[in-house]
Amino acid sequence: MLSYIIYKAILVVIVFSITLVAAMYSTYAERKIAGFLQDRLGPNRAGPFGILQPVADGVKMFMKEEMIPNVSNKFLFILGPSVAMFTSLMTGAVIPWGTSLTIAGHQYSLQVADVNIGILYLLGVTSVGVYGIMIGGWASNNKFALLGALRASSQMISYEVALGLSIIALIMTTGTLSIGEIAAQQHGWHWNILYQPLGFLIFIICAFAETNRAPFDLPECESELIGGYHTEYSSMKLGFYLFAEYTNMFISSAVIATLYFGGYNMPLLGRFVHDPNALVLLGTFFLFCKICFFIFLFMWVRWTLPRFRYDQLMNLGWKGLIPLAILNIAITGIVMWITGKIN
């Protein structure tokens, strides 16, 4: 029992630190990719190729003066970024980072918690994530912050519907709610993207909206709302909000890779590597490659597309994606009925 707790604790710490480091270097990658897409070099002064830039940014964030507006509710003002950070880090628990390592005859699963309703857990945690933004925006006692918070929350609850509906079609084909099992089912070439292309498209668009990334970054639209919900925030509290955004991006990339792109599975890998532990670690490596690709995709889209207008955003969500997701469910059902998967 004790060894089990220690192993889980170690795994939690590893997942936690990897998530944080990934989020930290996402900020660096964002600036670097933005630079490259605009024919510039991006940050390259702190360390070789600017590799220490996130550290420098972190130090700067900590050194900055901490401001709490006089009339705001102090407790809620601090609670906002904490909730945002907390919920974005919680999601990493159900992602299967790999199958099981076998060390000294014991099986050590690389998934922190294989909850049998993993997908619902993900949806639940993301739906709670709205509060971080809402509470922070309201507690700032600033109309721009409030408007940003309202935009963020209405956007997130609108796109959560389409997100959930696109996942339902996926669950119909996989027949399970456990993310570990969904990942395990996609061995070889059986990646879910091949069975659910439309569902994937809806899912990734909703993921962009859920993480408040461009072209759906209206909550922090600086041309209209100064900084959106984090207008009044400074120092590390602002850092927490920004960090939570990048953590969300990392986690949603991991979810996309796991649900639709085979997770830790890589076809033909078993032919070249025979040591089971090496195979597991290579699988984890390939999962991270996929995650990196999706993070790149997030940034690539951000630096290509202009922002949506708010009514366009709502039209796309309610009149475009939700009917499409329902259509996708119907098509999936019909195809499954024809192929005899359900009777």
Partner: protein, 165 residues
């Protein structure tokens, strides 16, 4: 261990429930209500009903309460704009709340006739079993409920529509 957790969650739920009523600031009330919902979700997990717990969080804490917060944040509620309540309204409120209490008490009295917990399948709250029960035993109420939702949705759309000239 579990019993302590149960007491903790119950205490939290009741305390926050009271705070919902006692708190002057409506936004704080809503936040306390959210904590209450989380405590109740914890109770569901203790009963091994994970699906219910998560759906409870998604639907109540994640969606309905967000809408509540939304409306309250936009309403600009404060002392000056608070409508004056007549004694008649207060009386009606007391009556209806009392009726709700009677219903709750009546429902709680009915628990005596329930089968003892040991005879119920412990995995009842898992998705598979829940789905089987919902779509076999309780198919008609389930579908009726969804019809009700559809009607409510159409009604909301009709209300939200601009007047047709």
């Amino acid at each position: 261990m579990t019993i302590y957790l149960f007491y903790f969650l119950s205490f939290l739920a009741i305390l926050c429930g009271l705070m919902v009523v006692l708190e002057k600031n409506p936004v704080h009330s809503v936040l306390y209500l959210i904590i209450t919902f989380f405590a109740i979700a914890g109770h569901y997990i203790l009963l091994n009903a994970q699906f219910l717990a998560v759906v409870h969080v998604i639907v109540y804490a994640g969606a309905i309460m967000v809408l509540f917060l939304f409306v309250i944040m936009l309403l600009n509620l404060n002392k000056e704009t608070e409508p004056h309540k007549t004694n008649l309204v207060k009386f009606a409120a007391v009556i209806s709340a009392g009726l709700l209490l009677v219903v709750l008490v009546a429902a709680l009295r009915g628990t005596e006739s329930l089968p003892s917990p040991s005879t119920i399948n412990a995995d009842m709250g898992l998705v598979k079993n829940l789905g089987k029960v919902l779509f076999n035993q309780f198919l008609l109420p389930f579908e009726t409920a969804s019809l009700l939702f559809l009607a409510a949705m159409v009604g909301a759309v009709m209300l939200g529509k601009r007047d047709i000239k």
